[in-house]
Symmetry: C2
Subunit: 281 residues, 2 copies
């Protein structure tokens, strides 16, 4: 996001996948862990160790449930300290856990067998972009430009009021991505991720096995699609399919009946959120 690299969850083999996809682990300064089940965290030990061998000195930030810190610190008691510092950040649902000038990340409490969080990655509102033609036309000075960018109207020397929307380009839409895994169906989630551009939602089972989904606190393809539809998401990604099923197609066709823009994800897939301007009314 905006030149920052965030890693969400770290299953076994994550560092191998990073290398295969030509992503340098050294560029990752922030790792978000959803929960302490092995398939989401067993790659963290190897990745942290490799970063040390690669000569890392910069702080590594780890985000997750409170027990993440205990787990990592116990681990380091056996395998020795790292040559760089770790900063632990403990999730509190709804409270931004990460923030920089352009982005923020908000943990979303999920329904799983252990304390589990999804993460909403969201751009902050941008300053308005001034229309360069307006600068010449109205002879705007530096102070004027600053005010216009903040959303104010402009008063000319002759006292005429020029509406802000005539001085600026329509703003870029704030892009967002939510990663929700693992979780049982929770109808409270859509309002927390309203109009998210890209939603990854786990879909472990098909609706025919909804009993299993309820028992294990996982979701069906239909439930993932219902969350996307209620949230008015732009696009839905599904994955984490149980190995009991032979084909992804059944997941896509089940989800597609509820929410059309759905894709099954696989190792190495890439999705880009383009900058788009909000349409002028």
């Amino acid at each position: 996001m905006n030149e920052r690299f965030f890693l969400i969850d770290c299953g076994e083999g994550t560092q191998i996948q990073l290398r295969k996809n030509k992503l340098s682990p050294a560029r990752i300064n922030h790792i978000f862990i959803s929960h302490l089940h092995g398939d989401h965290v067993f790659g963290l030990f190897g990745l942290m160790s490799s970063l040390g061998l690669m000569g890392r000195k910069a702080v590594l930030n780890l985000y997750g449930p409170a027990a993440l810190r205990d787990m990592v610190e116990h681990h380091l008691e056996f395998f020795g300290p790292l040559p760089y510092a770790l900063d632990f950040h403990t999730c509190k649902a709804g409270t931004p856990i990460y923030e920089d000038s352009r982005n923020e990340v908000i943990p979303i409490r999920l329904k799983h067998r252990t304390e589990t969080y999804g993460y909403l990655f969201r751009e902050k509102a941008r300053m308005l972009n001034i229309d360069k033609k307006a600068i010449d036309r109205y002879n705007l000075g530096l102070e004027d430009i600053k005010h216009v960018k903040q959303g104010k109207d402009h008063q000319t020397d002759s006292g005429e009021i020029i509406s802000n929307s005539d001085l600026t380009l329509p703003p870029y839409k704030q892009r967002s991505y939510a990663f929700l895994s693992d979780t049982g169906y929770d109808p409270g989630i859509p309002e927390l991720i309203r109009e998210v551009d890209l939603l990854y939602h786990e879909a472990t089972f098909l609706e025919a096995d909804s009993d299993l989904a309820r028992q294990t606190l996982h979701s069906t393809a239909s439930q993932a699609a219902m969350v996307a539809k209620e949230a008015r998401a732009g696009k839905l990604l599904i994955g984490h399919f149980s190995t009991r099923y032979k084909s992804e197609n059944d997941f896509i066709s089940e989800a597609g009946q509820i929410f059309e823009n759905v894709t099954a994800v696989n190792d190495g897939d890439r999705f880009t959120l383009d900058l788009t301007r909000v349409r002028k009314e």
Copy 2:
């Protein structure tokens, strides 16, 4: 070895490599860990967890330094118990740590920065195979056959002594494999693995960097070859090359000057030790 599957060390991604090489993790009942550095043990957590998900009920035997048990038990405190039992076996250098009717495994203390063991896998001596033609020629009964198989000579009814070697086929050679990683050069090792058929010895550095090898307690390609030569090994495998070097060829040519039958190993390589009869003198 003789229908038993042994896994030696378990770095990150081991279960992924097993699947890629069409080896079923379920067939592994014995895992030997050389030492508790991450690249030798970070795949153990995921493998143990997957075995549980696959429905394993059989005991899993773990062999290694005493601290292995602490590490695994601490890990299970965080990630919950397994649905099968673990049996821990603590290495004592030179004392067989595993034994069945046909095979034995002997830990070899290595020189590394933490308590580290190599493992010598060795077939036990087999009973002699009786030459079927001798049974007819000398009209041997069941008791006679038992004695001959134990190596005794045979006395005929007429009092003639038939030498055991005229009654039996030459025995099969006892096959052996030694895995030695990680270790600084240790001239005491060859006598512990005398005439091993196949020797894996780490070769992290080239001789030009022998200072680094000494400091980090690793070996050079020349040192690995010296161990193979002194031990009169059949074949030497080398690996664990430092990423500072671009090509394996330099390792092979350096080692090859001291011990000719040397091969650099890579993921997925397979080596078979054929049954061969000891030549009759």
